[in-house]
Assembly symmetry: C2
Homo-oligomer: 458 residues x 2
């Protein structure tokens, strides 16, 4: 069984004027075809682009082999990476490993290493992690596509100091551009193991390269299963029959909600704890790809992530009765990995009695169904992505679905979904503040800013 997307609760027939009709989509068909052509042309130019990663079995095999070797030689793997070098691996690790992976026995974690993602330049968490680990039993995956990410180098310098140059050769794997950048140079010079990130694959689209597959393989996750699901979805998303193309329909629906229904807030709400980090991955993908300057204006939806049923007790009130500016994308799994039957008990209490005999997954599913119906009854649209089960194949489908949808949405919005020019200003200022040679102008710009007034501080 494959992943499906149910658009019913996004339609006019179900939610009234906020909903979409076939005619809304019809107006987009030329753009959608152009978007699919653009994805194909990227292949044809010979660059290995994200949709083709599932076919790059040699690269996958190299990462899996090295990951399994790390699992044999070490107890812990620490990923030094941030943003696109961390979020995808973190998401699939959370989705597919034991919920208490780092606490349970090696057997319970399928023979894998423990896995940590200290994805910040925060010394409190980083120092605590290093003090806890037995460094002689720990491998490090240093991941930066460009090779020059400040946060990652700050961590790597400290790790290198603690390990020493000889141990570093055995314990550090560098995952970076195949030919360029500081990490590639240093790794080659110092004899560290390396794996490449294909140059045409952007950081936030890189989870199916060694960026994600090496840590996942080390932790015992079934990488081949993920790639099989991703490959199947990539195939489904190549059809020009738009009504059969899940990524085209998903991108089109969300684009229409933003630009034709004044609903620029896109809430991803899986009903599964395991998909919490997948929400964080989605937020980066959608926000960084589509939030762009366009001419003299600015475009792009704002992604939010929630988790059901937990966040029924948090943002649901706002989704139900706040401004009419949101569309929710639910993710529901038909079958749980594990289920529990809620025991009967305390039957004199009406608030308790009705629960006994249902399963916990049944309660969770009823809550998802009830929440989407309540939104619909209030005229508020949603989509539901259904997967048969939270397994590697389904997660591969889900990842590829959103990546292709993002590429297509870029064409619909008329922007480049693969760049991120807006983050450069902050990087320049950081370098200026740290006194990096060549960034004197940035520092001067900062110094020339209006002085803060003490009257506005309390």
């Amino acid at each position: 069984m494959a992943l499906t997307i149910d658009f019913n609760l996004a339609t006019r027939a179900q939610v009234g004027p906020a909903g979409l009709e076939r005619t809304d989509f019809a107006g987009l068909s030329a753009s959608l075809t152009q978007a699919l052509d653009a994805l194909d042309h990227a292949h044809e130019r010979g660059a290995l682009q994200f949709m083709r990663l599932p076919q790059d079995t040699a690269a996958a095999q190299a990462a899996i082999v090295l990951g399994k070797q790390l699992a044999r030689d070490f107890d812990e793997l620490v990923v030094l990476g941030i943003g696109g070098s961390s979020l995808g691996g973190k998401a699939l690790f959370a989705a597919l490993s034991h919920p208490l992976h780092n606490l349970v026995t090696r057997k319970q974690r399928s023979g894998g290493t423990r896995l940590f993602f200290p994805d910040n330049s925060d010394p409190s968490t980083f120092a605590a992690l290093l003090d806890h680990l037995d460094l002689s039993r720990t491998a490090f995956a240093a991941i930066t596509k460009s090779g020059g990410t400040a946060e990652t180098w700050a961590q790597l310098l400290e790790i290198h100091r603690r390990l020493g140059a000889e141990a570093a050769k055995r314990q550090i794997v560098a995952i970076t551009d195949p030919t360029k950048g500081a990490l590639r140079s240093v790794a080659q010079e110092h004899g560290w193991a390396t794996l490449p990130v294909p140059p045409a694959v952007g950081g936030r689209f890189s989870v199916l390269t060694a960026v994600g597959t090496l840590p996942l393989a080390a932790a015992g996750v079934d990488v081949a299963g993920i790639l099989a699901g991703a490959g199947a979805m990539a195939e489904r998303c190549r059809t020009r029959s738009l009504e059969q193309n899940p990524a085209a329909m998903l991108a089109a629906a969300l684009f229409l909600f933003d630009t034709r229904r004044q609903r620029p807030l896109h809430v991803l709400m899986p009903y599964a704890d395991a998909l919490r980090e997948t929400g964080d991955w989605f937020v980066q993908l959608w926000a960084e790809s589509l939030g762009k300057k366009k001419g003299t204006g600015f475009v792009g939806p704002t992604p939010l992530r929630a988790v059901g049923a937990t966040d029924q007790h948090s943002i649901l009130q706002l989704l139900m009765e706040g401004p009419q500016d949101k569309v929710t994308v639910f993710i529901a799994a038909a079958a749980p990995r594990v289920d529990l039957t809620i025991p009967k008990g305390f039957e004199s209490q009406p608030d308790v009695r009705y629960l006994g005999g249902h399963t916990m997954h049944g309660l969770l599913s009823a809550e998802q169904q009830a929440t989407s119906a309540a939104l619909a009854a209030a005229g508020r649209p949603s989509l539901t992505i259904r997967i048969p089960k939270l397994d590697p194949f389904s997660l591969g489908e889900l990842i590829m679905l959103w990546e292709v949808a993002t590429g297509i949405a870029g064409t619909l919005y008329g922007i480049d979904p693969y760049d991120q020019p807006g983050v450069e200003a902050g990087k320049r200022y950081t370098c200026g503040l740290l006194g990096r040679p060549g960034y004197e102008e940035a520092k001067a710009e900062l110094d020339a800013r209006p002085k803060p007034s003490p009257d506005w501080i309390l």
Copy 2:
């Protein structure tokens, strides 16, 4: 030293037309005074309301004593609670305990229990947790203010079945309304220990009651320090001199950005891993309190949470170059709890050389300063909450600041910030789907909804 709020980068002098001026605030002074009066009147009616919780030393002491007793008698504490019964405790636990609390030795976790918050009706995570724990060494805090929360009862029924009635008396603590509701009845009938949640304190304002203080005390967190900070902030927030009142100014600024500057998206972005869950707590507080029906319309800002520097590699592109609909609230700590000096190394690489010799906290601080300056230079406003250090006192201040600001914002928006009527429809439908007696009408409503069309599923 106390928490401060710096409004400079939210002003017209710094960011141009998107910024605020004194005159914007002046128009709100009558409403702000009315809001502060309303908070005071709540006290005067005799109900113990959230601003007075720091003074309720007897309640705090009872929770601390019982929490410490649990720490003596058990290795693990599991909180059965969802939404307001979980988010606050989770936030302060993450902010103030060892970053790897559940992995390290008891000594490293200040003598506290390990602490788990399975805050969902997701059987995969709940079953995995129960299978991992030695139940004879585990205490359970069942927390539901109303006493009737479905997700919590589903968990509690399973726990009670596994423990048996006798062990339950020693191992379950019920935290609920002092007189009403299913949990109060069951706890009294079956001899479970109980602690009260003051009836006038809403769930999302309850972290400084036993809802938060019992689990925190058990885990070894300094609850008295948190309450001292919260009490100090509550005092600061009582002044009618609005320019000196941090909660009034915070609420007013964010209200003005939403309603006068078309910036309804409020992004809380602490530069500290430890405050990630504080962001989740803020999202519930702000969204559920302020997202409301008002007459025939709908009001309320949409909160987002991000973490710096991590999310500079995620939503920053959207903040910098996406639509002009956001204001960011940074949180920055002046001093780290622990710091690391970045070693020098690989000095032939310009992307690496400038980092050595700085501290990691220095890098993080420069990134926060650079990011807020880059936003300001692009005409995009932000506020910065500064705390001396991530310690119990500062967290207490921060919690109380946002709670009071939420109460005040409710008055500015002209809605009741303490209710959540929008979540009832979903609850009714869930009960209908589960066949709960009395909910036949909800089920009939669901059955009467338009049938989904297979044409809209792919």
